[in-house]
Amino acid sequence: MKKEKVTRSKSKTKLDFIKFFVLSLFILLSCVSSSFAQNAVANVTLSGVVKDKTTGEPLIGANVYVAALKRGSKTDLDGKYSIKLPMGTYRVKVSYIGYKSQKQSVKVADNMEFAFNLSSDIELHEVVITSRRKDENLSKVDMGVQKLTNIEIQKIPALMGEVDVIKAIQLLPGVQSTSEGSSGFSVRGGSADQNLILLDNVNMYNASHMFGFFSVFNNDAVKSAELYKGNLPMRFGGRLSSLLDVQLKDDSPEKIKGVGGIGLISSRLTLEGPLGHNTSWLISGRRSYVDLFLKLSSDPDMKSESIYFYDINAKLSHRFSAKDKVYVNLYSGKDLFKSSFGNFSYGNAVASTYWNHIFSEKLFSRLSIDYTKYHYELGSSMQNSQVNWKSDIQDVALHYDIDHALSNKIKLEYGLSSTYNQFNPALVARPGYPDYRMQKSYALEHSVYLGFDHKINDRINLKYGLRATAFQNMGKASVYSYDKNYEVKDTTYYKSGKIYHTYIRFEPRFGIAYQLDDRSSLKANYAHNVQFIQIANNSDSGSPLDLWFPASTNIKPQRADLYSVGYFRNFNKNAIEASAELYYKGMNNVIDFVDNAQLLLNDKLEGEVRAGKGKAYGMELMLKKNTGKLTGFINYTLSRTERTIPGINNGKTYLAPSDKTNSVNLMLSYELSKKWSFSAGWVYATGTPITYPTGRFEINGEYYPIYSGRNTSRKADYHRLDLSATYTPVKNPKRWYQGEWNFSLYNAYWHKNPWMVSFDQNTSNGIPKAQMTYLFGAIPSITYNFKF
C-alpha cells in the first residue's frame, strides 16, 4: 500500500448553519403572521371535506368549483378544500376522476363547513390517464406532470398479470425504461437514480422486485401515482430528473372491505376498515410463490431452493379532533434468492408517522418524521468459502410543510426538512477471519422552501418559488484527496459528528400558464434541481447492488436546469386532451465512471468517478381520449440525451445509455359490455445505444475486444404488443364478494427484443461471433381478482 501523507485539519463550514435556519424560520413565521392578518378581512370561507360516498375515503385532488365566481379549490392531502367568497348562495360543482360529478346549492352566510360525498362511477371506467378536473390540464401551471390512478393502472396489460405502477409510468411520454423488464426508468434523459420515488411521502431507495421485473408497489393498495418530469413541487428536491409520488389508499371506510387477487407469480390481499369512529386501518400483503412449487419437487436440492419476494404495507390513522389527524405507515419488502451455493436478498424497510393539523380554513400543516432503509446481503455457503456481505443506506428525516391560502388568488406553500443519511457500503464477514468493514459515511441535508401559486387573472396563472438546501458531510470519516491522475495524495481524518464539508444550493422554480380560450392554453416552466447523493452503478439495467454515495469534498452536487414550453388543447368538451411539450435540460456535474471502474468494495470509489456536462432535449406529444367505450392514449417522444465528461470516451460527447430517438406508446381500452373489456398496448422505441467492438487482439488463442468509442452503435429497435381481456361475471347476490378474471398476453407477437449482446468464439475456427439474448417470449397469464 502506498504510504499516504496524513494531515489533520479543522473543517471549514461555509456558513453557521444555526443562523441559516433561524433566518429561514423567521422568514416563514413572518409570512404566516402576515397572512393571518389578511385572513381577517371581510370575505367568508366555505370549506370542508370531499369523500367517497360508500367508503368514506377522503378524495385527494378533487375539484370544488363555484362557476358564478370562477373560483375553485382542489382538495388537499386530507380531502379538504377551502374557498374564500362573498356571502351568498352558490351552485358548487364537485368533480373527481372516477366519480360522478355533483352539483349542490350552498347558502354561505358565514364561515362554514360543507361536506361532499361523491359516488364512484365504476360503470364508466372513465379514463386512462387524466388530469383531476376535466379542463385542469389547461389552467394548471404544472407541466410535465401525469397522474395515474389505481383503476387506470389496472387496465394496462401487464407482464405475468402483475399490474405495476412503474411499468405504467414507463408508458408516459418522456419516460423510458432503462432496459427490458427493468423497474429503472429515465425521465427526459436523466439516469435512474435521478428519480425520487416516494411511497406515502417517504423515499424508497430501490423500487424493484425480481431484478426489476416487478416493482415494490402492490397496486391493490395504491390509490394513485403522480409523475413530475422535472418540475417538482416546491416541497420536494434532491433529485435531478423526476418525482414519482405514489400514494396508498386513505383508509376511512365505514366497514371492512378488501381487494385481492391470485396470479401466476403472486397472490395479494388488501384489507381496510374502521376501528371505532376516529381510527381506521389498512393492511396489505403480497407474496410470490414460485418457491412453493419448488418445495413440491422430488429433488431434495430443488426443495432447498428459494426464490420469492413479499411486500407488506400497513397504515393506521386516527383523528384526534376535527383539526388533528395522525397517520402511521409501515412498509417492509424483501426479495430472497437462496440455493445450496448461497443466498442473496435485498429489500426496503420504511416507517413514517405524520400529523396533519388545520390551523384555520386557510392554513394546513403537516409534521412528519420518517425512516427508510434499503439493504442487500450476499452470502456464500460453499465449502471453504463461506462469506457474508452486507450493505445498506438509511435515512431519518423530519419535515414540516404548510399549505396556506392567502387569498383566492395567492396560495403559499412553505416548510422545512432535515434528513440524516447513513451510508454503510459494505461489511464482509468471513468465519475465521477478522470482519472487513468499509468506512461508513454520514451526511445531513437541510432544506427550506417557499412557493407561490398565483392567479393573476382568469387567463394567467403563475407558480414560483425557491428551495435552499444545505448538504453537510459529517464524521467519522477518513477523507482522501486525489491528484490529477486520481491517485490518493492525502488522507484527512475527522472525528465522529464533525461537520467537515457543507454545500449550500438554491433551487429556483418558475412556471406560467396562459389560457388562450376555453379549450387551449400555453405554458412555460423553468426548474433548477440539485442532487446530493447518487448511485455507484454503471450497469444499464441497474442491479440490486445499489451503492449510494454522497456529494463530498471530491464530488460536487449534480445540477440541472430544465426549460419547457407546451401547448395544451382539449377537444369535444374536454373528452379529448392533446398536448405538445418541448424541453431542454442542461446538466452540470453529472457523473459517470471510468472504464473498468471498481465500484464495489472500493474505499477509493470517488477516484473512479468523473463529472461533466449533460444535455437532453426533446418533444413530447400526447393525445388521450377520456370518455366513451373506447378510451386510451397515444404519445410520441422525439428526444436526444448526451454526456460530455472529461475522462470518459476521451472527453468526446457520447449518447446516454437511455437515449431513444423515437418512442411511441399506444394504449387502448374498449368496454364491450358490462362483462367484457379489452385492452391493448403497443410500445415502440429506437434501439438503445450500445458499444460494439471495432477490433480484437489475441493472447494465447483467445480474442479480446478493442473499442473505439462509447455508445456509437444501437441495438435493434424495440417493439412489443401486449393484450388483455377482463371478464367480470354478473354479481351473484348470494356471494359476499365480486370476482373478475383477467387474461393477458405479454409480447403477443413474440418479438425478440435484444436485452444483451454478447460474444463467443466459434467452436470450429475460434473466430468471434455475436449472440443476442432476449428475455421474454410471448407470455400468457391469468389472474383472478376479487373485492368485497
Partner: protein
C-alpha cells in the same frame, strides 16, 4: 477476494435460469455491423522467476469479426533490460521460427523479485520506413510463499464440486494481488479466461488457511450444462492431480486479467459496466501487457470422498 464476480456469476446463473424457465428467454446467434478500427501492435509477455527462455509475443490487432487469425509481427527488435540498484543487464530476444511472432531470450534466465524489467520493441508497424518504439516496464513483486494446497470434494445442491484451497501467509499492511495458474493431469490452463485471481481485501495480513479460491465442477456433472457453457468451463474428477502456481502480481496486471475476463464476452446489462478497453501498460498506442512476477507452487490429488 473477488467475491463480486464470483457471486455475479452465480446469480446471473439463477436469473437466467429463472427467466428461461418462466419467460421463454433465449440466446441465439446474431449479426451486427461494426466498423474496423486501424490495427495496432499487440505486445504480451510475462517474465517469471522460472529459469527458462523468457518469451514475448508480438502480433497485430484486427477487425473484430475478421475471418483470418491475427497476424504475427515477425520483423521486430526486442530487448529486455533488468535493473536493480546499479546492476543492469540487457537481453536480446529473437524468434525461433521466423513468422511465429514469439520472441525468446537466447539463454534461460530467471527473473528476480525486486528487480525492474523493461521491455523495448522496435518495429515499423505502420510501414512508413521508420521503426516505432513500444515500451513497458514492471517491477517484479516480492515472492509470497504458497505453503500447500488442498482439494476438497463437496456436494452443493445437485452438483459435486472440487474446491481448490490454499494455505499461505498474506503479507501485512500492503495491498496484495494474486494470480493462480494451474494444470490438471498435465493439461496446462494457460488462457487468461481460466486464470484465478484474487486480492487480500478482508484477508490482509492473515494466515490464509484452507481458503477456497475456486470451485471446479465434477466431470460427471458436465451434461448439466449447455454445450457452449461447458466448453468454457474446467471440469475435474476424483484422482486428478492438480498443480497450482500462485504469484504475487502487480496491481496493474491484476486489473488487466480482470478486464480481460470481464470484457472478453461483452458486458452483462445487469452486473457489468459499459464495454471498455482493456487496460494496457504498453506505450505508444499498442495493446497487451508486460509484467514480471515470481511463483510458488504446490500439488494435490483430488480426493474420492466427500469432505465434511
Amino acid at each position: 477476494m473477488k467475491i463480486v464476480s464470483k457471486f455475479s456469476k452465480i446469480y446471473i446463473g439463477i436469473l437466467i435460469a429463472t427467466s428461461a424457465a418462466f419467460l421463454g428467454a433465449c440466446t441465439e446467434d446474431t449479426t451486427i455491423n461494426t466498423e474496423n478500427s486501424t490495427p495496432v501492435p499487440v505486445v504480451y509477455g510475462t517474465i517469471t522467476d522460472h529459469n527458462v527462455r523468457q518469451e514475448i509475443d508480438l502480433s497485430s490487432s484486427t477487425g473484430y469479426f475478421d475471418k483470418e487469425g491475427n497476424k504475427r509481427i515477425s520483423e521486430a527488435t526486442v530487448t529486455l533490460d533488468e535493473d536493480s540498484t546499479g546492476i543492469s543487464n540487457t537481453y536480446t530476444l529473437a524468434q525461433d521460427s521466423v513468422g511465429s511472432g514469439i520472441y525468446k531470450t537466447q539463454q534461460a534466465m530467471a527473473g528476480k523479485p525486486g528487480w525492474t524489467y523493461k521491455l523495448t520493441v522496435k518495429t515499423d508497424f505502420d510501414q512508413d520506413g521508420t521503426a516505432e518504439t513500444y515500451q513497458a516496464e514492471s517491477e517484479m513483486p516480492k515472492r509470497v510463499n504458497l505453503d500447500s494446497i488442498t482439494i476438497t470434494k463437496a456436494k452443493e445442491g445437485s452438483y459435486t464440486l472440487f474446491s481448490l484451497n490454499i494455505n499461505a501467509q498474506d503479507p501485512p499492511v500492503e495491498e496484495n494481488y494474486y494470480l493462480c495458474r494451474y494444470s490438471i493431469n498435465d493439461t496446462i490452463y494457460n488462457k487468461i479466461s481460466k486464470y484465478i485471481y484474487f486480492d487480500d481485501t478482508s484477508l490482509d495480513g492473515t494466515y490464509v488457511k484452507n481458503l477456497s479460491i475456486w470451485h471446479f465442477f465434477d466431470k460427471g456433472d458436465k451434461s448439466k450444462f449447455s454445450d457452449s457453457d461447458a466448453e468454457d468451463m474446467v471440469f475435474m474428477s476424483a484422482g486428478d492431480r492438480v498443480h497450482a502456481e500462485v504469484s504475487n502480481i502487480t496491481e496493474g496486471y491484476y486489473h488487466f486479467i480482470e478486464d480481460c475476463q470481464g470484457q472478453k464476452d461483452g458486458s452483462n446489462p445487469m452486473f457489468g459496466g459499459p464495454p471498455a478497453n482493456i487496460s494496457t501498460n504498453i506505450s505508444n498506442g499498442a495493446r497487451g501487457y508486460f509484467t514480471a512476477f515470481s511463483t510458488s507452487s504446490a500439488n494435490y490429488v483430488a480426493p474420492k470422498d466427500f469432505t465434511k
